[in-house]
């Protein structure tokens, strides 16, 4: 990839204030939002990827992001701003994108992460379904870096009202085969003609929609609410622990 002159050797040379992040957001919405979505979560129409996860396909540093925004990515739909905006504006977009990655130091939470970890592995039995850094169950989302992707208030809602927002990956599919037997499991993937699931015994199944009697999609979560099993303080601790889970931890 070509790089903008001078940019590869430097960090952001400008002071970064809140106003710069806001300016970056407005610049992003104007220049980038058409493909990447107004909220940077990806665009349905143009297919620009989600930029809110903190993981970028073509850049691992702020300078790398600067270069991508400036020059684009050869051989892809990503075209750069070229020289149409000054360096400061490009850095503002970089800082805006960086702000979408939830930084731990920004978060002031009532709970204690260490106590939350004990609840996760003990009373809460969270580990039976969720994996962290390779340890735990696999019938729930891997939470190793959940703190980067999910704000604490969302984490709290996930714990107390799991059906509020269930990603399609965690829906349940129920397949009724021609002999009447039913196989049910988490929806790993579904397309026009087929779907694949993992059942409660962690077996993988792949079905052709045309060669089974019927199938049903259940969009509820398989996770119970913790409201009846944990105290308010325990939930606070669990939220603090989950918010602390990120790459550097």
């Amino acid at each position: 990839m070509a790089t903008h002159a001078g940019a590869t050797e430097i960090q952001n040379p400008f002071d970064v204030a809140v106003v710069d992040v806001k300016a970056g957001e407005l610049l992003f919405q104007r220049h980038c939002g058409t493909c990447h979505g107004r909220d940077a979560k990806g665009g349905h129409e143009a297919g620009g990827p989600d930029l809110t996860t903190g993981n970028f396909q073509h850049a691992s540093t702020k300078v790398g992001l600067f270069n991508i925004i400036r020059e684009g990515v050869d051989g892809t739909a990503m075209i750069g701003l070229n020289t149409r905006e000054p360096d400061q504006s490009v850095w503002q977009i970089v800082e805006y994108l960086n702000s979408l990655n939830i930084a731990l130091k920004k978060i002031d939470l009532p709970g204690q992460p260490n106590a939350g970890q004990q609840i996760f592995n003990g009373k809460g039995k969270c580990f039976t379904c969720h994996m962290i850094n390779g340890q735990g169950g696999r019938t729930g989302p891997d939470l190793s870096r959940i703190g980067e992707r999910r704000q604490p208030d969302k984490l709290r809602l996930d714990l107390t009202n799991p059906n509020n927002e269930v990603g399609p990956r965690w829906w349940t599919m129920q397949a009724t085969r021609l002999d009447g037997s039913v196989i049910e499991g988490l929806r790993l993937n579904e397309d026009t003609f087929t779907f694949r699931i993992i059942d409660k015994n962690e077996n993988l199944w792949s079905f052709s929609k045309a060669t089974i009697r019927s199938f049903q999609r259940i969009e509820d979560s398989t996770m119970p609410s913790v409201e009846q099993t944990l105290t308010v303080k325990e939930i606070d601790d669990l939220v603090a622990y989950l918010a602390s889970l990120r790459k550097e931890s």
Partner: protein, 546 residues
């Protein structure tokens, strides 16, 4: 019935003349490839279905082929015959042409390759040199070429039109259509009308002033230009507040159709600019989001029909107009069929622009219906706001630029449709030449898997749905239908598939991997029928084993 009988006779004659009942299969070609494509051949393109001579197959854009070697009984036996990998990574949106055994494939960003249609091996390629400061809203796409004589005509992302020698790939002429630095670009296949190359423009997200042009096919000189936003000398200019018409968009970024009997060109226009802030351009904003009928010799406007007056949701009427003669209310009518991005299906009289039929074909929450003239009865509180307004259809549309198809055998139009929703936001934005001028944006509220998508078969006589085939999660692909009552299409999950055109029953599918954003086409070489689709950045061609 007469139409069916005639078409049966023509198919039989075609089989005798062109297919040769397989005598040439597996042999080298007995005749040289590629003979000049005259205007007469283009007018009668349906009579040589072994070729695919223009973007939509025929001037009426039905995307209906008389080829029927691939049928319901054998379509499940289709096998990959060859594949061609496009060097660029973008999801290809190209529809190839085939002329007497030579296939012409456009590539991202603005390149062209000629292939042996039987083997997929290249004859030549043309790489268009592009500047580094392109202004393009939605990917580095090119959707196809046009041909007249032995010259190919291609739009380029830097808003040029080029003439390319079909036998060598040599550049014959290069005409700047508009200044790319002002936000103009070109992605659509041109349409040949007599001895001119009719071609549109993109840039609705950059506040351009749209137009449709015709260029001399031999020299590349401009013959006529019709602006899609009228100037102050036209009363329709009053449908734009103040000077907003100067930056009002209304691009023409997909290919149109032509009726030789009426000498009328039909073309769709795109969104008014800025997309999501209508407060700066009060009025109906003619002729954005409209079907235009233009004189084939002068470009003078015969009539217009605006689908979405004062659009604030980016619902371009950039769909390919489908022309057919159908019996409506006991009367033979020359009609135009149009499934619009705004979720309404329309049948119009193409001689006059009269509204005949209109009905929603997908989920919509913005209109109570259409009045007797086809004008939407808009619901309150559906405009974008700074805080966001939930609306169906979403920006991607109930359908979009991907081609629908019509079968004169079934009398049905086939449309890839989407029942989605999205939050739309407005914001204040000053026009700045060459920069995005959208006045807002969109935000998905639910994952796309939550929404429903399907190929729908619609009866143009009443807008009723005859059948639908669910797609998971959605499709950006065009559609092909054939004389053997097959419907071919693809989907974003990387499938290419065939359905029964009469029932929607699934007959065959194959996973190609890359998302399908192109439209299928079919052709025949040496007596063998092929069907071709681009998926990801690969062009795949299927046929029955010999």
């Amino acid at each position: 019935m007469l139409i069916i009988r005639l078409s049966t006779i023509i198919v039989v004659l075609f089989a005798i003349t062109y297919l040769g009942f397989g005598q040439e299969r597996l042999s080298n070609n007995l005749q040289p490839s590629l003979s000049p494509v005259t205007w007469e051949r283009l007018v009668n393109a349906a009579n040589e279905p072994h070729n695919w001579l223009m973007y939509s197959g025929t001037l009426d854009s039905q995307r209906f082929s008389r080829l029927d070697q691939i049928q319901k009984r054998n379509v499940s036996d289709l096998k990959l015959q060859w594949s061609y990998q496009i060097p660029q990574i973008d999801a290809a949106e190209t529809v190839p042409l085939v002329v007497d055994g030579v296939m012409f494939v456009t590539e991202s960003p603005s390149n062209l390759v000629a292939l042996d249609a039987k083997t997929g091996r290249p004859y030549w390629r043309y790489d268009h040199e592009l500047p580094e400061d392109l202004r393009i809203c939605c990917g580095r796409n090119n959707r196809g070429v046009a041909i007249l004589g032995e010259t190919l005509y291609m739009s380029t992302l830097d808003a040029h039109l080029v003439g390319i020698d079909a036998k060598t790939g040599n550049l014959l002429w290069d005409t700047e259509v508009a200044d790319h630095k002002a936000g103009y670009s070109k992605t659509a296949a041109p349409l040949i009308v007599k001895d001119t190359v009719v071609t549109g423009i993109a840039g609705g997200e950059y506040g351009i002033r749209g137009f449709l042009d015709a260029y001399n096919a031999a020299t590349g000189a401009l013959e006529w230009r019709t602006h899609t936003i009228p100037g102050p000398d036209n009363p329709d200019n009053q449908t734009w507040a103040g000077d907003s018409w100067r930056t009002g968009g209304a691009p023409t970024w997909i290919t149109g159709s032509y009726d030789p009997s009426l000498n009328l060109i039909y073309w769709g226009t795109g969104n008014p600019a800025p997309d999501w802030n209508g407060a700066t351009r009060l009025g109906d904003n003619l002729y954005s989001d409209s079907a235009l009928a233009l004189d084939g010799d002068t470009g003078n406007m015969a009539w217009h029909f605006q689908f979405t007056p004062h659009d604030e949701h980016d619902w371009d009427a950039v769909q390919v107009p489908i022309l057919a003669d159908i019996n409506l209310y006991g009367q033979e009518r020359k009609v135009m069929m149009w499934a619009n991005r705004n979720a309404f299906y329309y049948t119009l009289d193409r001689e006059t622009g009269e509204f005949l039929v209109g009905k929603p074909f997908a989920r919509q929450t913005w209109a109570a219906g259409l009045d007797e003239k086809g004008r939407p009865i808009r619901l309150p509180n559906t405009s974008p706001t700074p805080e966001g307004t939930l609306i169906s259809p979403p920006v991607v549309g109930a359908t979009n630029w991907w081609s629908a198809a019509y079968s004169p055998r079934t009398g049905l139009i086939y449309v890839n449709s989407f029942d989605g929703e999205e939050a739309v936001f407005s914001r204040d934005e000053e026009y700045e030449e060459g920069e995005f001028f959208t006045g807002g944006g969109v935000q998905s509220v639910l994952p796309s898997d939550k929404h429903f998508s399907a190929i729908r078969a619609i009866d143009p006589k009443n807008g009723e749905r005859r059948w639908q085939f669910p797609i998971q999660p959605m499709s950006h692909a065009g559609i092909l239908t054939t004389a053997s009552d097959l419907v071919f299409s693809g989907s974003s999950d990387g499938y290419f598939y065939a359905l029964d055109a009469t029932s929607g029953e699934s007959l065959w599918h194959i996973a190609l991997g890359g998302p399908v954003r192109a439209a299928p086409m079919t052709y025949a070489v040496s007596g063998k029928q092929y069907v071709t689709i681009a998926a990801g950045n690969v062009v795949y061609t299927f046929g029955l084993d010999d």
